[in-house]
Homo-oligomer: 191 residues x 2
């Protein structure tokens, strides 16, 4: 077993000749990976579109107060899902390229775990931020006199709710991506 004979060799990371690795489970894993990443892209795009259209369709009733501040409230949300959308395009292409060149598998798996984890942190916090604000909009807060707004702007709130649902779905997809990558990495460790 390689792990018992040369641990020092491994931990200092020499450049070994890349062996043609076992491709069967690799291709299967990366097919799931591609599907999940396309789902992540779709949900990122949907979350952005739904929340941006909610702002545009609410311009008319907002003329009393001006609508310049509204985009600022969900700026972080839109930015986070723009990043995850772009990221999912790049990694989908990377994942497809791995299906064609299975010897790159190991390198991509560890990179995917690293970056997916970062993206998970970003989009989970963005979902939470939008969710927190939406909760205040739904329930209000009496003693600081923040009134409920969802009984007035009901279409706006429905957009936010839909966007949050899609965003949550995107977060779960990212979670699954990390789990699958870790599982695939785990499979390659000699027992």
């Amino acid at each position: 077993m390689a792990s018992t004979t040369d641990p020092e060799l491994k931990s200092s990371e020499p450049p070994p000749p890349p062996p043609p690795a076992a491709t069967a489970d690799a291709v299967d894993y990366f097919k799931i990976d591609v599907i999940l990443r396309v789902l992540l892209f779709a949900s990122s795009l949907a979350a952005i579109i739904v929340i941006v259209t909610s702002q545009q369709t609410e311009i008319v009733p907002l003329l009393t107060g001006g609508f310049a501040r509204r985009p600022a409230k969900f700026k972080y949300f839109v930015a986070a899902f723009s990043v995850s959308g772009l990221y999912s395009i790049i990694t989908t292409l990377a994942s497809i390229s791995v299906i064609q060149k299975p010897q790159l598998k190991l390198k991509f798996l560890i990179q995917f775990i690293f970056w997916d984890t970062l993206i998970l942190g970003i989009i989970a916090s963005a979902t939470g931020a939008a969710g927190g604000v939406a909760y205040v909009g739904l329930k209000g807060n009496d003693h600081v006199s923040w009134n409920k707004i969802c009984n007035v702007y009901d279409k706006f709130c429905r957009h936010i709710a839909a966007s949050l649902a899609v965003a949550l779905f995107g977060s779960v997809v990212t979670l699954l991506l990390i789990w699958f990558s870790a599982k695939a990495l785990h499979h390659r460790v000699p027992k």
Copy 2:
């Protein structure tokens, strides 16, 4: 190389005799792991304490509106960091036990990645939710007439800000935990 000779054997997971694995890097990794988990526990505890004390010290100026609703606003935040605090206690003990029994290393690494990722999603979204509400409190929102509250409740807002900083630190620690676990797992894969 094991990965080229018996891929089917590995993917069907037979029960092989566990070899005495290389312990040097394992112990080093799990020492970092224990330290990070203790940090996670400390930051979870601090985040909860700071946000809970902010509610108690603000009872007097809130008598105009009743204070019953205030705890509800940060209920998710307190719940999430209670979970991560409890989780960090359990996994710290688990991590210490692995230092004493290195043959359990592989099993714990994959479990740590799975659960740490879930915890990251929970506390990142909780941090985001509290941050989103705190942002509205700081900046206000004119056209739905949500006034700024941080110029009035400045001590409350300082508590929230401190709690958010600690919570963000806890999220970064969790991110590092996943990265270290993935790296440790990656080291054990034959190149």
